[in-house]
């Protein structure tokens, strides 16, 4: 699927793939390729929060890394504010980096324990080639104040802070260069519930104040619902459903999205997730089912699903990759390979 890149898009990817070579078998005798991101297209508009929902092994984090070119895509194009970043030279890309930032999942390992808080927070400024010390100090102090850290903490080490405060340091680092685009890779999944609430509200406030675009990556449906304008659901390296948060989460269409939502415990304890019958586990990238990747677990799967991979196409006000909703494709017999 290819489409003209709209000027509203801050970040967009076309048919993006990431390929890793893995060795399996005795002493790594077998070389195989796995694609944790397989031909994904995606766009994030100016000022919106787009959430990628997926379970472990869905490729959602790799997608986030590939957009920022922290891993090199094997195919496809990434366009950030009008520039194809695959064509940039190393130094040009580095200068651009403070405008496209990331907050990591683990607030412990993502902050260097040997640096002062101010050196961690100011890193993107130095990275973009800024030299003016006074300016750097001022921006650093401002970012720390914005995330609710006492600027007097700037000369302390991260081990003196709790998990929630550490994540604030990580967020301060991401926003210090006034980014247009921030990837949030499960920023609250290692935090306690009460701290998660603080961080989610902080992120939403920062986003509405700055007008930046966020790509939020999470496995938590409730968090996705709370923060997103639009959501995209990933399964086994592919996007299976994408649309407005109210449509996709409020009224899911893809069988995987439906199953996923039905597994989420809610305040309504009479609705038992234990009664949900989903068989099997997500497939491993070395052993993908033929056709639709959810076909081996899907209760609606029929012949075509096991032969041909459905493409993401619009249906019911969003895009779904499922033959249940693309009747014309369903009626044409799939070529037998």
């Amino acid at each position: 699927m290819s489409r003209a890149i709209s000027t509203d898009d801050v970040m967009s990817a076309e048919a993006l793939s990431v390929t890793y070579k893995v060795r399996t078998g005795f002493l790594g005798s077998v070389h195989r390729e796995v694609k944790p991101v397989d031909g994904v297209s995606l766009s994030v508009k100016k000022g919106e929060v787009m959430t990628v929902i997926g379970e472990s092994g869905s490729g959602k984090s790799t997608l986030g890394f590939a957009l920022l070119r922290l891993v090199k895509p094997s195919a496809g194009r990434v366009v950030f504010s009008g520039q194809d970043i695959g064509e940039l030279k190393g130094s040009e890309l580095r200068r651009l980096r403070r405008k496209m930032q990331i907050v990591f999942q683990d607030p412990y390992s993502s902050l260097d324990p040997r640096l002062h808080v101010k050196d961690i927070v100011s890193e993107p400024l130095y990275g973009s080639g800024m030299k003016d010390r006074a300016d750097i100090e001022e921006r650093t102090a401002r970012a720390m104040a914005l995330v609710g850290l006492d600027p007097s903490a700037k000369s302390r080490y991260v081990h003196e802070f709790s998990g929630g405060q550490r994540q604030r340091i990580g967020i301060a680092r991401a926003i210090v260069g006034d980014p247009q685009f921030v990837v949030l890779d499960e920023p609250t999944s290692n935090l306690d519930v009460s701290i998660q609430a603080q961080i989610l509200n902080l992120l939403l406030d920062l986003q509405s104040k700055s007008g930046a675009s966020y790509l939020f990556i999470t496995h938590n449906m409730a968090v996705a619902q709370y923060v997103s304008d639009r959501v995209a659901v990933m399964y086994a390296g592919e996007m299976v459903e994408r649309g407005a948060s109210k449509d996709v989460i409020g009224d899911p269409m893809h069988p995987y999205t439906k199953d996923l939502l039905s597994c989420v415990p809610t305040m309504d304890i009479s609705k038992k997730v234990a009664d949900v019958k989903i068989s099997g586990d997500p497939p491993s990238f070395t052993d993908l089912p033929k056709g639709c990747r959810y076909s081996n677990r899907c209760k609606y799967a029929f012949g075509l699903c096991r032969e041909k991979a459905p493409a993401l196409a619009s249906a019911g006000g969003r895009e779904v990759a499922c033959f249940l909703y693309h009747k014309e494709e369903k009626s044409t017999p799939a070529p037998v390979r």
């Binding site: 922290l70 890309l93 980096r97 993502s110 040997r114 890193e123 993107p124 302390r156 081990h159």
Partner: protein, 294 residues
Amino acid sequence: MSRSESSVTLSIVFGNWATVAGVAILVAFLVLTALATWPPAYHLVARYSPDTLNFGSANASPSLAHLFGTDREGRDIFARVVAALPIDIAIPFEVVGASVGIGLLLGTFAGYYGGWIEELVLRVADLFFAFPSIVLALTIAAILGASAEGLRVFYSEMALIIVGWPFYTRLARAQVLMIKQMPFVRAAEASGLGKLRIIRTHVIPHLASVMVVYATLDMGTVLLLYSVFAFFGLGASPPTPELGRMVYDGLSALPGNWWWSFFPGLTLMMLALGFALAGEGLRDVFDPRLRGQR
């Protein structure tokens, strides 16, 4: 290091008698060496000059007048041991320092950049690993030092560095491969920092602690290896005293004049023990498992 962290460090260091003993031994030797090399303070350490011949009191067994006894020429063995300390302590520092420096540089670049640089560095290191280090070092030192007597110590050090760097290179590379995967290094890349700056601010400081531990543990080994060199006559030229050479010279007098080789040998052992215990202690200090978790 913040106050709370350094207090943890101190409690780990002093919570362990072995570390205290190691550090105490090293400090005692360093003080002794410092005093002995500063002429005005020399008399505080030893009563006699290491080179004064006094045939009247030759072959004296240990006594209050001559703590470690005297040798065939009547020289005070205690004074000679003290005089040997500067060179015997300096050599491990120089050799290990150079080996660590080379290893850190090559290993870090090999690990961080990968590709052909890594292949080349590792293959060369493997080449040196393939030979037993002591044999290789002795051969190199003998070949280099055969002609130039005045440079023998230097060549012996060179030989020890040549067999020493491959280990540190491999160690540094393995550590860098691990550090490179840490999310904070990813974060630094995402911030647009260049590779050299990432190596300088994030990679090397993390490597340094591990390297320091291994280096300290290695000091004793190098000290003993160098004594082997001196033992075989590949050290400094006489009459410069050297512990390894003194052990060798005393062997012919065993078991009669046992103190000729016993006290230099004991001193060597104490020094090596000091390095080993201090190294173990440092390892505990840097071991994150012993730090306050959470």
